[in-house]
């Protein structure tokens, strides 16, 4: 089953890296990646509906407009069944704690270690109920 993932980051490098590093996986149909360049854009896409239905959001913190922690808050409020991982260049425990309190399932630091991220994604998708 294809797991649909929304990646939220204002830096174009990030979307480019995700496309490159997940080429094999997307071609095989393991993952379908979607991108939003802001928190507002992400919320709009979630409201409009993404196909296949998104199961996981990977979000940056530092973005113009609403930041990733605010986005996390709004997602958990409006779509509590969705899982969110924070992917950020911030390394402080204050933000890490805030993310955990707001219900993020993981807090990964940039530069993204894609091997580690893929490990986490495999663990996440294998924990999903098969429908």
């Amino acid at each position: 089953m294809t797991a649909s993932i929304l990646v939220v980051d204002d830096e174009p490098d990030v979307a480019e890296l995700f496309r490159q590093r997940f080429r094999g996986e997307t071609r095989r149909g393991d993952y379908a990646l979607h991108f939003a360049e802001s928190g507002e854009h992400a919320l709009q896409q979630l409201r409009d509906g993404i196909q296949p239905e998104v199961v996981l959001i990977l979000s940056d913190i530092n973005m113009p407009g609403i930041d990733g922690l605010q986005l996390l808050h709004e997602i958990k409020r409006d779509w509590p069944h969705l899982s969110v991982m924070i992917v950020t260049a911030y390394g402080d425990d204050e933000r890490r704690l805030k993310a955990a309190e707001e219900g993020a399932i993981d807090f990964l630091s940039k530069p993204v270690d894609f091997d580690y991220l893929k490990q986490r994604l495999r663990a996440f998708t294998s924990s999903l109920p098969t429908t």
Partner: protein, 377 residues
């Protein structure tokens, strides 16, 4: 002195206002002191309630309505930032002692010796100024600490953001050379990537140590299963073990279930110990062994052993200090900041455990992380 010191005189004697204004007329005119008067403790509290800016209170003990001792107790409850000088008859010594025990700073006896009163007021004001200076310094230090921690958070973000592009993009150019036409540049690109990763490690370690030193590193413990974490770090360290042709194995007791720990920091400690073991061992064995130990409580022991170059006792003694590797030759041969072990030990100690070492030159080393926790909870 830039502003007048404000003194509240609390006394039921009717001529006290006249006496003070007369005796201190020079200081009042020079703007050194200003005086305010209250007839009893209750009036004094009313004045203080509407105007908090007093430095000093001159306090009689025997007054109607509310006496001086009661007022002193109330001032303590209110944490009023001022000092009190008791003004009372020498024959009233037991009350004076009681006032001193309730936090009065000093006393003068009636009839008032004006020279003594002036000296006592000056001394008390100096003391107040000292206390305020200490408080100012405390606030300044607190602000500096808070600025430092914001600075570190922002710096961490600003340093890692470009490294994300540097490491990430060179990595895809190395691993997918065909896609980018970078086949001929493999070797230099791999070196750029390696340098980027090395720089990232240094940045992370310097930032972590600064955070620990500033008291800003916070553990975020959660209930986690230990074996998946061990499996995960073994998977992560695999490529590094292969680089020196080391055999990497793990042994975990199946009785190990879960423990309460900050998983990110535990992973960091294990990765640090394992990467050191892989770096200092060639064509040997690196093993991560996890077990439960009962020794005055339950402990989880995670031992990383290698068959590498090992260390003398002298080298081991310096090992956990910041900015030192076993010696400068080691540093040139193996690289690194020498911060990893210092950080690992500090983290383990923050978790209520420790990291210890046993080693022999030429035979290898065993680093043991010991953490408190019941394995079967």
């Amino acid at each position: 002195m830039s502003t007048a010191s404000r003194i509240l005189v609390v006394d039921d004697e009717v001529d006290i206002e006249l006496l003070i204004n007369q005796q201190f007329r020079h200081q009042i005119r020079a703007g050194e002191f200003t005086f305010c008067f209250a007839r009893d403790g209750e009036q004094a509290l009313t004045v203080l309630g509407t105007d908090g800016g007093f430095d000093l209170i001159l306090l009689d003990i025997n007054m109607p309505v509310m006496d001086g001792l009661t007022l002193l107790s109330r001032l303590r409850e209110l944490h009023a930032p001022m000092r009190a000088i008791i003004v009372s008859a020498y024959s009233d010594m037991s009350n004076i002692r009681a006032a001193m025990n309730r936090g009065a700073f000093d006393f003068v006896t009636k009839p008032i010796d004006m020279a003594d009163l002036k000296a006592t007021i000056r001394k008390t004001l100096d003391e107040i100024e000292n206390l305020r200076e200490i408080e100012r310094q405390r606030l300044a230090a607190e602000l500096a600490r808070s600025n430092l921690s914001h600075f570190l958070a922002d710096m961490s973000h600003e340093l890692r953001t470009p490294l994300n592009a540097i490491i990430g993009l060179t990595d895809v150019m190395v691993t997918h050379a065909g896609r980018f036409g970078t086949e001929k540049a493999q070797e230099p690109l791999a070196r750029v990537r390696g340098a980027g990763i090395h720089l990232l490690e240094i940045i992370n370690q310097v930032l972590d140590l600064s955070k620990i030193e500033a008291g800003k590193l916070e553990l975020i413990p959660e209930r986690v299963k230990l074996l998946p974490i061990i499996q995960e770090v073994i998977d992560t360290i695999g490529p590094l073990a292969e680089r020196n042709k080391n055999r990497l194995t793990m042994q975990g007791e199946t009785s190990l279930d879960s423990l309460t720990v900050d998983p990110m920091r535990l992973r960091q400690i294990l990765l640090n110990l394992l990467s050191n073991a892989c770096k200092f061992t060639k064509e040997g064995e690196v093993t991560l062994k996890a077990r439960k130990v009962v020794n005055g409580g339950e402990w989880i022991e995670l031992a990383v052993s290698d068959t590498g170059i090992g260390m003398t006792l002298e080298q081991q003694a310096k090992l956990f200090a910041e900015f030192t590797q076993a010696d400068s030759l080691t540093e040139r041969r193996f690289g690194g900041t020498g911060l990893g072990l210092a950080i690992s030990r500090k983290l383990a100690r923050m978790m209520g455990g420790d990291v210890t070492v046993a080693s022999e030159p030429g035979k290898g080393s065993v680093f043991t992380v010991r953490l408190p926790g019941s394995a079967d909870g």
